[in-house]
């Protein structure tokens, strides 16, 4: 989609985050020489075209006690994967769901989802529940829990690519 130079300037200004003030878009405008109206108009257009998915806060889920976070992966026949994935998405505790390329023989799994929780045993039960609900409990599956984190940064590029905080972890 078309992203103009002025849009890029605005994206760079908002990428580091907005201040918590009553009129955050006016504050952002001051950083890149635009008035509030122009900031809002440009952001709305980028929301409409999908360049920006949404505008909001990112909670630090670990600080809220979400320490048992599993990437649950399945090996689902390609013909069924979409339908099974959409079933998984009906479950409120499935936060991310993607189809990815397999790398046989090392990595046979093609359906990925994330289940974030506060307690490991509970997340394991939810993974089992999700598999049954989607009708894939009989298929090969693995749950990989996240442990230490070494790098977590938004982005340093121009224009910046901010990643959702918990993209996979």
């Amino acid at each position: 989609m078309g992203v103009s130079e002025r849009d890029r300037c605005l994206l760079a200004a908002v990428a580091g985050g907005l201040p918590f003030v009553r009129r955050p878009f006016a504050a952002i405008g001051e950083r890149c020489g635009m008035d509030e109206e122009e900031v809002i108009a440009r952001l709305r257009r980028m929301l409409a075209t999908g360049v920006i998915r949404r505008f909001g806060i990112v909670v630090r889920h670990r600080a809220l006690g979400y320490r048992a976070n599993a990437m649950v992966v399945f090996d689902v026949p390609d013909a069924d994967v979409r339908q099974k994935a959409l079933r998984l998405c009906d479950l409120p505790f499935v936060t991310l769901c993607y189809r990815r390329r397999r790398r046989p023989p090392l990595w046979p799994y093609n359906l990925f989802c994330m289940i974030h929780g506060r307690e490991r045993g509970r997340v394991e039960r939810l993974a089992e529940e999700a598999a049954r609900f989607a009708g894939i409990a009989h298929l090969p599956r693995a749950a990989l829990f996240s442990r230490r984190c070494f790098v977590q940064r938004g982005a340093r590029y121009e224009p910046p690519l901010a990643l959702p905080e918990a993209e996979v972890r």
Binding site: C97, W107, A162, P164
Partner: protein, 148 residues
């Protein structure tokens, strides 16, 4: 510590705010507090480390960039050394440990999609380990909301 109002604020704001001059006004009204208090509570939660950034969630692909998930099976005795090598690449946006044979995972975020195979090859050369590149073929959900 968080009280019921803080939790309600987090619940509301994770859904996103509208691009309007006073985005916190409707939330303040809904919770029966004034805007100044919304702003003060958010600032406090950011200082406490419960909140990350307040801003746009971009779609990297729409911006012409690319994001790639990768995994490596790292021998436990080499883990710290390999983590430092991986971290030294500016294209690495996340790098973390998971349970299982493929115990190191990282996400590459680049502006030029053609950089992905080059960075993967450089990481393989520097670490002497194979990288599993697991490109996304279809996205069904990206819904990062947490019950506070």
């Amino acid at each position: 510590m968080m009280d019921a109002t803080d939790r309600a604020l987090l619940r509301e704001l994770q859904a996103g705010v509208a691009a309007v001059p006073r985005p916190f006004a409707p939330i303040a009204q809904k919770l029966g507090i004034d805007e100044a208090e919304v702003v003060r509570r958010l600032e406090r939660m950011r200082e406490d480390g419960r909140l990350g950034r307040f801003g746009p969630l971009f779609d990297a692909e729409q911006l012409g960039g690319a994001v790639a998930l990768c995994a490596m099976a790292v021998p436990p005795e080499r883990f710290t050394e390999v983590a430092a090598l991986v971290k030294s690449f500016p294209e690495v946006a996340h790098n973390y440990e998971r349970t299982g044979r493929f115990n190191m995972w990282f996400v590459l975020a680049v502006l030029d999609p053609e950089a992905i195979p080059r960075v993967v090859a450089d990481i393989e050369r520097d670490t002497g380990l194979s990288v599993l590149l697991l490109p996304k073929l279809e996205e069904y959900r990206l819904e990062l909301r947490f019950e506070p």
